[in-house]
């Protein structure tokens, strides 16, 4: 342990010396002592054995002649031997014959039977040695003698030896100490010096120091030389390393600077990319705005040109001479052409920019055919052409309804244009595997093969040869793009002299029933059929009335609880009410009175339908019509019609509000409506319209969407959230290009959407007639 805590090599050497010499001495002493002890013991046993033999031979006669006294005399001679503790002579039979003890109290005698056939045995036990020897006389065992002796002599010998050994050991160790101090000078001190230098080097990193040389050329000298040589090497290496490190630092700094530079460049570059992107986005936005503005700003004046020129041709404001009429017709034709051209250019650019959004739905082919043919027929009639259409009922395509019709109109328009007078144009559709093939076949002159490919290019006009044909040259290009946007293809089959056939495919719509339901529902909404509240607690009678009225196009609501009838009427504000007299718990007379006294329902016409024949009572209570059951359909409808017209007549003071910022259009619409007998009031912007509607409820609103201050969308949203104006009929008339979302919003919240891109005047008048039947009947 001491060796480990003290690292000094000289101490280690000293201790090693001491340990080695000490251990050797100890071993030697131990060996000598052991040997001496063993020898001593053997001598002791031999002495005892001799004594036993003497006693034995001197006791033979005593044993043989049974004379213990004689034997004891012999034993008593042992008194002179101080080490003998006791002795005994035993007869041949093992019986104690004679005994001797130094200490009378000590009777501890051995048992001779332990001999077991041997002549003599001895053993050491409890610091005693016992020897048993058989007495043999003339070759015959005669008895046994036992001698017990102490080993005090042995112990004292051992003690003496240990003392001597200790003294020798101490002397030797001192000598070893002296010798090792000599060794230390020769071996340890140079090593200590070396270690001191090594420690200094490792602590101070000073590689310039050197270990002192020793005399001689032993391993120690070699070690010191090698160490010094190593220090020289390290010194050199360290210098080289420091230089390399400095160089590396320099290079790292250079690289870092380069990287910084590159990073700044990348940042600058990415910033410029970002700016370019922003510019591109801004440019794209400008382009969108431009297109939107174009469509609005170009169409609005054109609409005025077209509208007023048409009004002038009607000669409502005085007769025109032939030249005036011709000029006005030129104006009108030119305007129409310009409008078509603008529409086509805008459409094409929108398609090219990928910004044309389609509202794909299930479109019934026969319905679309019918609508398109309806529109195009007048054009065909002008050239005495036959326009035929055939499509399997229930056939639907997945398409944008408006664009589908546009495609059809373009193709039919082309066909009409290029087919001579009296020709035939056939529109047909049939189902292929997963598509619908639509064909427009004409009996025209056909298209030469060399022109068949170029015909779909923009601005290519087939009619170059024939200067009289009019058109933008964009129709087929747009048509083709539209078909392709739907995932279909547009193609042409033609033989010069035997007509042309333009055909295209569209994906087929599998579900057939749903689109029809949707169509009919929308039809009802847009038509805004007058609502009739049928108050009748007899189920069968109520269903009969509902059947009659629904077949005439009325929107029927049934009420079989007379107690709730007043509230329902106040809430629904129906165009008319039919009422039974005999009802529980409230009868018709009472109900009629409360209707006429409640300001909310006082103005609603009431038709009494009853088996009680008391028309006078009914009239006195304020009933508008009185029908006695059984009810005839014609009588019922006539009575309801009378009520409605009566009501319209009363409400004629309520005008139609035209909201339009463009003065020309506003005036034109006003003229158009006045021409058909409607009372018109106008608003030039959104806030005016808002104020007017707030002041008094108009019969209907014709609303432009793009307005100064407050837009049409905002007005619509306001009106629809207000319960007073929630049911106010609104027609939207706009030149704005609508997104599908905007279109669906308008369809949901208004009665009609008219777009100025298409001819709209006739549609407007027709829809007004349906929406406000009272006015119509008055006029007729």
């Amino acid at each position: 342990m001491f060796l480990r805590t003290n690292n000094s090599i000289s101490r280690k050497l000293t201790w090693m010396n001491m340990l080695v010499s000490g251990a050797a001495l100890l071993l030697a002493c131990a060996s000598f002592i052991t040997y001496d002890m063993l020898t001593f013991r053997a001598t002791m046993v031999r002495n005892l054995s001799t004594q036993a033999q003497i006693i034995g031979s001197n006791s033979v006669s005593a044993l043989l002649f049974n004379d213990p006294q004689s034997a004891e005399n012999t034993l008593s001679a042992l008194k002179v031997a101080h080490n003998i503790l006791s002795a005994g002579i035993y007869s041949k039979d093992g019986v104690l014959f004679a005994s001797y003890t130094r200490n009378p109290a000590d009777r501890n005698l051995a048992i001779p039977s332990l001999l077991r056939g041997q002549v003599e045995v001895h053993w050491f036990k409890n610091k005693e040695v016992v020897l048993v020897r058989s007495i043999v006389f003339e070759g015959k065992p005669t008895g046994t003698v036992c001698i017990r002796s102490d080993v005090k002599e042995l112990d004292s010998g051992l003690k003496r030896y240990v003392v001597i050994a200790s003294i020798v050991l101490a002397v030797c160790l001192v000598a070893a100490l002296l010798v090792s101090s000599i060794f230390r000078r020769a071996v340890a001190e140079p090593i200590i010096d070396l270690a001191e230098v090594a420690r200094a080097v490792s602590r101070e990193k000073n590689y310039a120091v050197r270990a002192p040389r020793t005399n001689g050329s032993g391993e120690l000298a070699i070690l010191i030389d090698a160490f010094n040589e190593m220090l020289v090497q390290i010194q050199q290496n360290e210098r080289a390393l420091r230089e390399a490190r400095d160089d590396l630092e320099q290079r790292v700094m250079e690289r870092t600077a380069e990287l910084e530079k590159a990073k700044r460049e990348v940042e600058t570059f990415s910033f410029s990319i970002l700016r370019a992107k922003e510019e591109l986005e801004r440019a794209s936005k400008f382009k969108d705005q431009f297109l939107s503005t174009m469509s609005h700003e170009l169409r609005t004046p054109l609409n005025a040109v077209l509208g007023f020129s048409e009004l002038l041709t009607e000669e409502r404001y005085g007769p025109l001479n032939e030249r005036q009429r011709r000029y006005i017709k030129h104006i009108h034709t030119g305007g129409k052409h310009l409008l078509r051209l603008i529409n086509d250019i805008l459409d094409l650019s929108k398609i090219e920019a990928g910004r044309l959004q389609l509202t794909i739905e299930n479109v019934p082919v026969p319905t679309s055919f019918a609508e398109v043919v309806d529109i195009m027929r007048s054009l065909a009639d002008k050239k005495s052409q036959t326009l035929l259409q055939e499509a399997p009922s229930g056939l639907s395509v997945r398409a944008d309804s408006t664009r589908f019709k546009q495609v059809l109109m373009n193709l039919i328009g082309n066909a009409i244009k290029f087919t001579p007078e009296g020709g035939e144009i056939r529109l047909s559709a049939h189902r292929l595997e997963s598509a619908v093939r639509v064909e427009v076949r004409d009996s025209g002159p056909g298209i030469p093969v060399e022109e068949q490919q170029r015909i779909f290019e923009a601005f290519y006009r087939l009619g170059e040869r024939d200067k009289k044909t009019e058109g933008t040259g964009l129709g087929l290009a747009i048509t083709r793009r539209l078909v392709e946007l739907h995932g279909g293809t547009l193609g042409l089959e033609s033989q010069p002299g035997s007509g042309s056939c333009f055909f295209f495919t569209l994906p087929v719509a599998e579900a057939v029933a749903i689109p029809e339901v949707q169509a009919s529902r929308r039809e009802i909404r847009t038509a805004e059929f007058p609502r009739i509240l049928v108050i009748e607690d007899d189920r069968a009678a109520a269903l009969l009335l509902q059947s009659h009225l629904t077949s005439a196009g009325y929107d029927v609501v049934l009420c079989d609880q007379p107690g709730r009838a007043l509230e329902m009427a106040a809430e629904l504000q129906p165009s008319a009410v039919t009422m039974d007299i005999i009802m529980r718990p409230v009868n018709g007379w009472e109900l009629l009175s409360s209707f006429k006294t409640d300001p909310r329902t006082a103005r609603i016409p009431v038709v009494l339908v009853t088996i009680i024949d008391q028309p006078a009572t009914g009239a006195s209570l304020g009933a508008d019509e009185y029908i006695v059951k059984p009810v005839k359909k014609a009588t019922l409808l006539a009575a309801v019609e009378r009520c409605m017209s009566h009501r319209k007549h009363i409400g004629r003071t309520r005008p139609i509000l035209v909201v339009e910022d463009d003065a020309a259009t506003r005036e034109f619409v006003g003229e158009l409506l006045s021409k058909h007998g409607y009372v018109v009031t106008t608003a030039v912007n959104g806030s005016q319209a808002r104020a007017q509607v707030a002041a008094f409820l108009p019969e209907l609103v014709i609303l432009d969407l793009i307005l100064p201050e407050v837009s049409g969308f905002e007005l619509l949203a306001e009106w629809r959230t207000n319960s007073r104006t929630a049911d106010l009929p609104v027609f939207v008339l706009t030149s704005k290009d609508l997104t599908p979302a905007e279109q669906s919003y308008i369809h949901t919240h208004t009665a009609l959407l008219l777009q100025k891109q298409q001819p709209w005047q006739e549609t407007l008048v027709a829809q007004l007639r349906r929406a406000l039947p009272g006015v119509l009947s008055e006029k007729s």
Binding site: A62, L64, F65, D67, S70, E138
Partner: protein, 209 residues
């Protein structure tokens, strides 16, 4: 024996009600068996540990032969065998025969002879003279003079009358007296060991000690 039956009676006495007749009988039987065994073994041990007088005397006769040296010239030592003789009525019976059977002394086999007349004792090494020959003692001793025969007897006054070794009883112990004059005149050498253990050593009938 007594203790065993005591134990038995104590057990039956203190718990009379607890022991059945059968049990009582068995306890009694066991007591008897133990008593018998004890009787026999103690008797045998007594016999063994206490050899009778003539057995000891017979052994002594033999052992005398081991401590006496006969000169080669005497007639007694000339024979091929070591003769032990008994004259007169033999008190040993078969004990002497069995003691000496197979033994040898002075390098010769021991032979036991029973003789009637002193003339027959010429080749005997040791002659035991029975006490029945008391009347003829002088005659016998005279006849054996110079013949080298060791004379032994247990008759009283033997050594006083010229005999060599006489057995005496010291209590139960058998000891012997020696008449050294007689042995010396017969040229016999007695070992000091023998003299050491003799009850008394005399010269011509008087005690030498």
């Amino acid at each position: 024996m007594g203790q065993s039956s005591d134990t038995s009676s104590w057990r039956s006495g203190t718990r009379p009600g607890l022991l059945s007749d059968f049990q009582r009988g068995r306890a009694l039987l066991r007591g008897l068996v133990v008593a018998l065994v004890l009787l026999v073994t103690t008797g045998l041990l007594a016999q063994q540990s206490k050899p009778n007088e003539y057995q000891v005397k017979a052994t002594y006769l033999y052992n005398f032969g081991r401590f006496v040296r006969w000169p080669g010239t005497v007639p007694a030592a000339k024979g091929d065998s070591f003769s032990v003789c008994v004259i007169g009525r033999d008190p040993f019976g078969s004990i002497l025969d069995s003691t000496l059977a197979g033994e040898s002394l002075d390098g010769k086999p021991v032979v036991l002879r029973r003789i009637a007349k002193p003339q027959e004792a010429g080749e005997c090494r040791i002659l035991f003279i029975s006490s029945t020959e008391e009347k003829h003692l002088n005659e016998i001793l005279t006849a054996l003079d110079q013949s080298g025969v060791l004379t032994v007897s247990d008759m009283p006054g033997f050594t006083r009358r010229g005999g060599m070794i006489q057995f005496v009883l010291d209590g139960d112990r058998v000891r012997f007296e020696i008449n050294l004059t007689s042995t010396e005149s017969a040229r016999l050498t007695l070992s000091s060991e023998l003299l050491k253990v003799a009850a008394s050593v005399k010269r011509n009938g008087r005690s030498g000690d």
